[in-house]
Symmetry: C2
Subunit: 452 residues, 2 copies
């Protein structure tokens, strides 16, 4: 049982870092290089006293720092007040964090997958033990978005939020939009630049974004983390044709994570999305991240910045460390003050999370048809039968010949409709003899007509 | 001397609101309508128990709330834990806040002018008495920018920040840019819409923005509030011609507050500024606010949202109340934990604040000249003599006749130069016989070539 952090007027806080990869190394460097400035901020000292990693890294300065190969040595080090977990992955990260909590240490983690999937367990353990588990760096790198949701916007009922929360995906979408390059082409470049992993599935299939959206949604609505209920669709099927039709209609395609409180329940979905090119978030380009939050009181606010990288992520790791130090009052606090892990002192588990079939939104459809008289009439009739309005339409000149016949794309934007209804209409249209391939369907987000 | 807030496990926090204008009324309504949700967030109760205003307002619900005409009755009410000051102006606001502090109450204020000018006194008193004075609502309405600077970015040495921090001014600049309207024309509309006061001086001459910049700069750099050292220039002299030349050069004119740490000292300045139309902040339109912060670790992050209005401002007032409640640990805290009022436990007063003559930046110049042979050569020569590069140039066809002679505008962008040197060059150019009126000079901000 740790006593030191509970003594009166504690003046020095010892940090142990587990993992010295990009983020861990960045955190060590930041803390070592800024000791004086951080002391001026805090009036207390924040010092790295123990690091654990598979091997020593000659680039780092280990003077005054204990080195272990075994990360659990840090969790068991009685001198460590706060353990920084930047290993990534599930194990040993989960066991390590639980051991640190058990030993009465606060924890700072950048591990989005772990928090999204095992956060409920971790936070329950931390609550029982009276320690803080902080994870600002798990979402959107250097942007203090967890803090904005949990604290800055705490007076609000959050209506919805929408974010570009995967930098690799946004880099790809930006290159496709600005240079007309194909998905495959840009992905190769992203891998060469080190933005995307050799196995890019987590990024391009939306899993990484779904982890982050899970965390954002729980903080917005005060619900348990529910990663398995996020609808997840990646960007690997978006074509340059779609990007260019979207532009023609005044829209841009972004890979968004969207969470919304509706009368029927909560939407949580990650997918390519058409958004008006006029919106600020439509102009967030390259590897940058941004999150728009609509609160009933604050209105729409937007948070923008770098979503990844050693320095940006270390900025949030160290901000969490500073929060923990500042949470100690100057008197004799039995426990430090703290903000609930998921914004609310008590979570709601009575709000259903909607299946994707049950959401309502507008749609972009691209339909490849044989250029015959009456084809538009057939499509229009099916949409009308399903009570679906056509809000905008592009009919293009023939762009390919297939089996001697001329194939043309029909591109349209629909009014608001329930997804299950849209699916039935799409199935009916695909059954038309004039329709030659699967319809491309991309959801549209109007953000309630909001001005941001 | 207040005891209640210092007891263990305090479960209810009583709020007194002084002033029931736009923000005060919005705060009362928010707290009354969200009591249950706030309790779910806090695990404690936050309740308005006392309000003071010159007259009762029949729109508000006073049940369970004590009403006083005298605001000092709230400061002296032993049942009140936190006093909300939303009177505006210097007195009685200053005396009221000092009285509340003396009585051991925490204070939340939206009073930007008061904090900018008297904040050093107020924070010193609060520190001595061990209470919190919070002021998130004083800057940029619903955007949690103070929190971002003080906490979210606390690991960073802030290099610079730049903000659109006056909604009225941005509304005027946006209308001028998008619709080619004149300053006077838009100002009249802004007054009719209630965005601008009958006396618009505070908004259009930059004083309101200078108050906010003062507060931002102190939080960014950890320096005492220094309102009297901010260089302040309004937008009343910006013409539609300048807006349109700027667009032609790929720039937009925004009224920015800029604070920057340089090797020579700190820049603090509010003035119309050319910024690249590609930047996200250049696309912040209408009454919206946005602040870009460049940290050495997080990089550039941007915060955007509504800068004013009853609900948006109340959102930040109540966020401050929530922070204060959360700052009480669950055990026996002698004093609540707290973040230093201006981000740093100890402030620096050894960093000089630069005079405007000493700053360095790029400039936009519009020079009206008689259309004679050699005039450009004369101008170029003077600039060259002052070591000033011409980065871009527009020479227009004659647009007016004056005293029988043809007058043409010469518009140019310079390279980086010290303002005092620019002043000497401008004086020399104005002394040329071909130059027919005072040169228009607008500063350009390249944001260190940063990508945001």
């Amino acid at each position: 049982m740790k006593q030191s952090a509970e003594a009166a007027g504690k003046q020095q806080f010892n940090v142990g870092i587990c993992g010295l990869g990009t983020v861990g190394g960045g955190t060590l460097t930041l803390l070592q290089s800024k000791q004086d400035e951080l002391c001026r901020r805090l009036g207390r000292t924040l010092r790295v006293t123990h690091v654990a990693s598979r091997r020593r890294n000659p680039d780092h300065d280990y003077s005054g720092v204990q080195y272990s190969q075994d990360v659990f040595a840090v969790a068991d080090d009685p001198a460590v007040d706060i353990l920084v977990e930047v290993l990534g992955g599930t194990e040993p990260a989960l066991s390590l964090i639980l051991r640190a909590i058990e030993n009465g240490k606060h924890v700072v983690t950048a591990n989005k997958a772990l928090i999204a999937v095992h956060g409920n367990t971790i936070f329950a353990a931390a609550r029982r033990r009276g320690v803080i588990v902080a994870y600002e760096s798990a979402v959107a790198g250097g942007i203090p978005i967890i803090k904005a949701l949990r604290e800055g916007l705490a007076a609000n009922s959050i209506e919805w939020l929408a974010g570009i929360i995967n930098g690799t995906g946004n880099f790809i979408m930006t290159e496709m939009a600005q240079k007309g390059r194909s998905f495959e082409d840009v992905l190769k470049e992203a891998q060469a630049l080190g933005y995307a992993e050799a196995d890019p599935t987590f990024d391009v299939e939306g899993i990484d974004a779904a982890h982050k959206l899970t965390i954002l949604a729980s903080n917005a609505f005060g619900i348990p983390l529910s990663f398995d209920k996020v609808y997840t669709e990646g960007i690997s099927k978006v074509t340059t044709a779609d990007v260019s039709y979207a532009e023609e209609l005044g829209y841009r395609i972004k890979h968004l994570g969207i969470a919304r409180m509706t009368a029927a329940g909560i939407e949580m979905r990650v997918h390519p999305t058409l958004i008006s090119a006029q919106k600020l978030i439509a102009n967030v380009n390259g590897v940058m991240n941004a999150v728009v939050v609509k609160g009933d009181s604050a209105g729409s606010t937007l948070y923008y910045g770098p979503g990844a990288g050693a320095k940006a992520t270390a900025s949030s790791v160290v901000a969490d460390l500073i929060d923990i130090v500042r949470s100690y009052g100057s008197g004799e606090a039995v426990r430090p003050a703290s903000v609930p892990a998921l914004s609310f002192a008590s979570l709601r588990d009575d709000v259903p999370i909607l299946k994707i079939d049950d959401i309502e939104c507008e749609y972009y459809l691209r339909i490849s048809v044989r250029d015959r008289i009456g084809v538009m009439a057939h499509i229009s009739q099916i949409l009308m039968q399903h009570n679906i309005n056509i809000e905008a339409l592009i009919q293009k000149e023939p762009d390919a010949a297939q089996a001697g016949e001329v194939i043309v794309p029909v591109v349209l934007l629909t009014g608001k409709v329930q997804e299950s209804n849209m699916n039935r209409a799409i199935a009916a249209i695909e059954a038309l003899p004039e329709v030659v391939e699967r319809i491309t369907r991309i959801r549209v987000e109007l953000f309630d007509g909001d001005g941001n």
